[in-house]
């Protein structure tokens, strides 16, 4: 407990951002180090592919120095970074699509092979089907609300939407999952 407490006390994102914006390379590196995981998780949830997620995380990290200059402390840094990460992942999806029509994320073989290894094929298979069935905007919302356990208000801030829209989207997700479940039952 104590340790965690000291860590929390360490340095806030906001202080690090401030230092980085005035040219402190160590502060900047600490910031990237701290949040790489966040970017990667968001990218993975959106794309369902580990390699792609690593690529996106690297791209975001690489361009962060330039982007940070545009960050004004109007939002929390992490909120802003979520937006950057979801945008980058969406861009990647678009680029992929323009080259290969069928690609929509969550369709690659990697998941299935992982599934086989981990003997969770049921759950993972379902996850894959479910995520693939969700359009971009809903998947984006799921990524933040379920994957990152954000409140609707937080997710709304990160996606530059109103809270109502996020709630509506989540209920839309619910509907689609239910439809999917019905479909499954019908097949059985």
């Amino acid at each position: 407990m104590r340790l965690t407490h000291t860590m929390r006390m360490e340095t806030t994102d906001e202080i690090l951002v401030n230092r980085a914006q005035t040219g402190d390379a160590d502060a900047f590196a600490a910031l990237v180090e701290r949040h790489y995981g966040l970017i990667f998780r968001v990218a993975f949830a959106m794309l369902g592919n580990r390699t792609d997620a690593e690529d996106v995380a690297q791209d975001v990290a690489a361009s962060l120095a330039g982007k940070l200059a545009g960050f004004r402390a109007e939002a929390k840094f992490s909120t802003w970074l979520y937006r950057v990460a979801t945008n980058a992942a969406t861009d990647r999806l678009r680029k992929r699509q323009s080259r290969r029509k069928a690609y929509d994320g969550w369709g690659d073989a990697e998941i299935s092979s992982r599934a086989a290894q981990q003997e969770q094929s049921d759950n993972l298979g379902w996850l894959q089907t479910a995520m693939a069935a969700l359009p971009h905007d809903l998947r984006q919302t799921v990524t933040l609300v379920l994957g990152e356990e954000m409140t609707h208000a937080e997710a709304a801030a990160a996606l530059s939407l109103s809270e109502g829209t996020v709630s509506w989207r989540m209920s839309e997700v619910k509907k689609r999952l239910r439809a999917l479940a019905k479909e499954e039952e019908r097949i059985r």
Partner: protein
């Protein structure tokens, strides 16, 4: 939360792979590197301006707004502010050669490339026991022996000067690579009366030389291509007559650096395009957005440059944007040029980051151009990059071949070079050459203005393809000759009539200049003494002609070439245009290889250029004189 959502959440979280520490540290390292690069750029910018330079600054916001509204006078007024900014950046020696440690795949030290020893034009000859030579022969000989070593150093071996070596080690690694060949040797007319080469309308070398000199150092000798320096300047030659796409003017006058030789000056003037009546264009901007493009002199300058270009496009022109970095993608599908909002928005969004998968980008750009292709329109890819293609291609030859194949499909490829540090001039030049386009180097916004606005029509509309020049000198009049520059454009004699052999293209309004230095028969400046065992058969020819000029060109879209011929005699007169080009030819030789210049120096070059400046409406010639002055100081 419903069960469905709970299930989704649990599944999503359990499917999340653990973070790969290698990938993470790679990303963090890249982020740090880019951060460092950015700070350097900002620090340099703050020399003049303490305000953070990046987007969001008040002035840039205003400029943005004005640009978007399309108020041209306002644009120019504000763009001069930007020029001040870039001008200051260039004062920093060598610009910003950012260390790019992970990108070393293709790099070779430039000085090792394509170097071979050339013999001095007149190799020291054993003096025969019999003294039949006149004095002049001895004088020449002594001169050769004294000058040969320095000539060799400047032209062929070219070890970096101390000053260059220091610069390069301080800012290592400098991965610039240049394309050049040994200086054209002096030829004996009786042995080799015919000289054949392809025209060259590239200008990259001049801009590069300028950027080096403005950065406080002389350019490397192998970065100097004299014909590109000469052709950088627009000249006002006689306009073409009748239906011909271009005119050819030959004048002969005394060599500024040698009283006993003459210059044969060939000036080609392309027909200017009536800007209103031109075929519509399909442009694909292929933009390098790799991490190294982040410098102020690169991506930001590139965006501004393309903005300038947009102002010159007609409503029926189309623009598409493809970017490449670690991967490539279409950023803007074909969009009508009058939809400026959409195009500008797409340009604005470009960000630098990642490595350079150029080949993939090129393929995508050609695919995009193919998609846009319609008859009656001209397709052109404008490749904007700071360096080489370090991902996806290991063989530059294969890349050239690829571009060459695509050329047959009718799409032109032009290259715009940005920034310094890892500029791969050799590859860029050969890509443009093989893609039937031009290579330009853009270091300031005013250079962008010259290339993309003032001379846009020349850069965009070809009027004659595969233009080759062949000159046959008359041995009765001309003892020796040498072509100044065009080292990388030499063709075999038989290639002249072979329509399959590619050569340079002339754009609307382009001027192309080629200069020979000739030594008349009987001149004391003849460097090659007659041989003892060869019959001295001086052919008799009463025509009084110095030589015979032949030009071949193809009308765009045709595969069969047409021939133009004209004999030329000693006109003994030179216009300011010709004299200015001679001053630049001298300047280029001072930078590259002084072998043939005797004691002619910067002072004479400056005087000649000043006296031949002419109207100089754009101030290019005045700028050249400034450069000569700077080079004069730097060379001391």
């Amino acid at each position: 939360m419903t069960d469905d959502l709970k299930r989704l959440k649990a599944a999503l979280q359990s499917a999340m792979p653990p973070i790969d520490e290698t990938a993470k540290s790679r990303a963090v390292a890249l982020a740090k590197k880019n951060f460092g690069a950015r700070q350097e750029t900002l620090a340099a910018a703050r020399l003049t301006d303490d305000r953070p330079k990046e987007r969001g600054g008040y002035l840039s916001g205003v400029k943005h707004m004005l640009n978007k509204i399309g108020l041209k006078p306002a644009l120019y007024a504000t763009s001069s502010l930007a020029i001040i900014g870039f001008g200051i950046l260039l004062v920093n020696p060598v610009g910003f050669s950012l260390p790019t440690p992970e990108r070393h795949t293709l790099s070779k030290p430039a000085s090792v490339q394509k170097k071979s020893l050339t013999l001095p034009a007149a190799a020291p000859v054993m003096e025969p026991e019999v003294i039949v030579e006149d004095n002049a022969g001895d004088v020449t000989m002594a001169y050769d022996m004294a000058e040969a070593p320095s000539g060799l150093i400047a032209g062929a071996i070219a070890p970096p000067s101390i000053e260059q070596a220091t610069r390069e080690s301080l800012y290592a690694p400098n991965r610039e690579q240049f394309s050049n060949a040994p200086t054209n040797p002096l030829k004996i007319t009786a042995d080799e009366p015919v000289s054949t080469f392809s025209i060259d309308v590239d200008t990259a070398s001049y801009a590069y030389v300028r950027s080096a000199i403005m950065g406080g150092g002389l350019p490397r000798a192998d970065a100097v291509r004299i014909e590109e320096m000469i052709n950088y300047f627009p000249y006002d030659y006689a306009a073409p007559q009748g239906d011909l796409p271009f005119s050819t003017t030959v004048s002969v006058f005394q060599t500024p650096w040698n009283a006993n030789t003459k210059l044969v000056h060939i000036g080609i003037q392309g027909r200017p395009a009536a800007t209103l009546d031109r075929p519509p264009l399909d442009l694909v901007f292929l933009i390098d957005t790799s991490g190294s493009m982040q410098d102020a002199g690169k991506l930001p300058l590139l965006k501004q440059s393309f903005r300038l270009l947009l102002s010159r496009l007609n409503a029926d022109d189309k623009v598409s944007i493809v970017t490449y970095a670690g991967s490539s993608g279409v950023v803007l599908e074909p969009t009508n040029a009058n939809d400026k909002q959409t195009i500008l928005a797409a340009l604005d969004k470009l960000e630098a980051g990642g490595s350079t998968a150029g080949q993939q980008g090129l393929q995508l750009a050609y695919a995009q151009a193919g998609k846009m292709h319609e008859s009656g329109r001209i397709g052109r890819i404008l490749l904007a990059t700071d360096g080489d293609f370090n991902v996806g291609i290991s063989d530059p030859e294969a890349l050239k071949k690829y571009v060459e194949n695509k050329r047959e499909g009718g799409t032109y490829l032009s290259v715009l070079g940005f920034g310094r540090g890892n500029y791969n001039d050799a590859l860029m030049q050969s890509l443009a050459q093989n893609g039937n386009g031009t290579a330009s180097y853009i270091d300031t916004l005013s250079e962008a203005q010259k290339v993309l606005v003032d001379q846009a029509s020349g850069a965009l509309f070809p009027i004659a393809n595969d233009v080759k020049i062949q000159v046959e000198f008359n041995p009765a009049m001309v003892a020796e000759y040498r072509l100044i520059g065009y080292e990388t454009r030499q063709l075999a004699r038989e290639d002249f009539n072979n329509d399959k052999v590619d050569a340079g293209d002339i754009g609307a309004g382009h001027t192309v200049t080629a200069i020979y230095e000739i030594t008349p028969v009987g001149s004391p400046a003849i460097r090659n003494a007659a041989l003892r065992y060869q019959p001295d058969t001086q052919p008799a020819d009463a025509s009084g002609e110095l030589g015979f000029l032949k030009l071949r060109y193809k009308t765009p879209g045709q595969t069969k070439s047409q021939l133009l011929t004209t004999p030329f005699t000693d006109t003994n007169a030179a216009t300011d245009e010709a004299r200015f080009s001679a001053a630049i030819a001298g300047f280029g030789q001072l930078l590259r290889d002084k072998k043939y210049l005797g004691d002619w120096s910067y002072a004479e070059a400056i005087a000649l250029a000043n006296s031949a400046k002419g109207a100089d409406p754009f101030g290019y010639r005045a700028e050249a004189v400034t450069l000569m002055r700077l080079a004069q100081s730097l060379s001391k």
